[in-house]
Symmetry: D3
Subunit: 116 residues, 6 copies
Amino acid sequence: MSDILQSFREYRSRMNQKLMETDNKVIKRIMNLDTNTYKEGALDERTKEMLGLVASMVLRCDDCISYHLEQCHQLGISNEEMYEIFSVANLVGGTIVIPHTRRALEYWEALNKEKG
Amino acid sequence: MSDILQSFREYRSRMNQKLMETDNKVIKRIMNLDTNTYKEGALDERTKEMLGLVASMVLRCDDCISYHLEQCHQLGISNEEMYEIFSVANLVGGTIVIPHTRRALEYWEALNKEKG
Amino acid sequence: MSDILQSFREYRSRMNQKLMETDNKVIKRIMNLDTNTYKEGALDERTKEMLGLVASMVLRCDDCISYHLEQCHQLGISNEEMYEIFSVANLVGGTIVIPHTRRALEYWEALNKEKG
Amino acid sequence: MSDILQSFREYRSRMNQKLMETDNKVIKRIMNLDTNTYKEGALDERTKEMLGLVASMVLRCDDCISYHLEQCHQLGISNEEMYEIFSVANLVGGTIVIPHTRRALEYWEALNKEKG
Amino acid sequence: MSDILQSFREYRSRMNQKLMETDNKVIKRIMNLDTNTYKEGALDERTKEMLGLVASMVLRCDDCISYHLEQCHQLGISNEEMYEIFSVANLVGGTIVIPHTRRALEYWEALNKEKG
Amino acid sequence: MSDILQSFREYRSRMNQKLMETDNKVIKRIMNLDTNTYKEGALDERTKEMLGLVASMVLRCDDCISYHLEQCHQLGISNEEMYEIFSVANLVGGTIVIPHTRRALEYWEALNKEKG
């Protein structure tokens, strides 16, 4: 498994576990909401994950981007679709999004490689 | 026509005209890109406008929100779909997005009313 | 009642009602969390409202600021305490917070006047 | 005098006065620094005001933009120079800066008109 | 000493020293203000450090978070109080604050461990 | 060559190449605009690079900062001028810009050293 995939997944999973163990009710509810919001509803999961990704990109949160890239990859979003999400993020958010797009592309290619 | 629809459209159109008249090449190219990015490609226009909307919401740009609400409305996005876009924006961007969601909902209802 | 107090309260209350009526589960949960988070716990309500206020100031959300100013005022926070919250927000967030501080001070003085 | 010039100047001046009257030492120092930072040093005033303007634009603070537009206008910055500042801000900050650029252009034109 | 504590403290201290050596008056005044603002006044130091922390969290500045976590820890803020600060930051700032909260929790636990 | 210079330049160059290879028209146009915007026009290159730098600093994009530091260095901007750009960024953007200024200063000193 690629190093960037493994280190992101391992750290996120370990620390999310610790966040749940704080037993703070608000934090736990936000983390539960974070899962439920992307479930199929009037919009399908694919669209919702794309929305989560573009929002994370313009807000320039690398870890949030990695997480939604994983979800989008599992839901079968194609390279061409992904590059169009990148293009909206860079247009709306400006060139300060480019460095995050470089890292997003690297992560996306690692996901493509992992799947083989 | 609703006041909030009319005043937004009139001001945006008048000042965009003036921005083009500055004859600054970079500004003109950005404004052209702003139109082209949302054209159908690997993703359809509906999805792209939803992406533009959620990005505008988390970045809390009321005028950008109004513009993408107009596009989404013309493309036939339903109330339930719209509320799910709102929900992703509020989850990712936090409660500071709520005041913008209040104004977005008001604008959306004005668009519904206008269509009759 | 001051115009700025009345117009904020009336619009917020009317549109929050409409947001609840969308019947979107995520939106409703976020709005409920927004109330519960500031309830007394390990930290008292005063401290939590001050935290909500300073967060709103550095994120430059005028309506969020007005809301937390109302709560802080009801909880008896003094002028001197309020100005120190303003000072932290302006130091951490920079001079772009000054225009929001001008409006916050205007709102705060309207609350002082209303109380008489 | 144009309404947008007058209302900005009058409100800013009145509320800055009130901010100084809070007698909070940190707030007063920040406001003093805000004046001193733009004084000529290794960089001339023109360059510094341009820096203050572009920073205000990408951070999307309309009142900060208006203030630096006033300073730039007094220092004789030309229309073409101003449009290039706008172009950098829109490139770096993305299309969410466009609505602020519309308002900036309106304010700039009011300043041009006032000067006659 | 934990690696994350040591590397943050060492880098911050070394580079702050270099920032002071630039001998730029504005930078030096801002750094002095940064110390003075959190001194006891109408609000006590504990409250002010909590305000600084929540502001740093919603603005998603990891190094600023680490610094205020250090101060909060020295002032005896409890785990339960800390988790409530985290909860306000995540509510107001949204799920993009979660990755920063993961790192904040890791830093906080390192501080707890160091104290023994 | 300093490690921080080399690793930034190598990664940026390699991933920009990959971004161009996505063959997404919008991304390519934004990247081309990113080069053209800073070309001499009504404002000279020095001023434009300073504008790009201060915008990157207040938006707290470390990689964007490194890039514009490189450009400013090549254009002969002096240490004293650079520190004044830092001072504007920290004043406008607040103390959350300090950690980025620490890294900017480290990068700047590496550039000075490289030139010898």
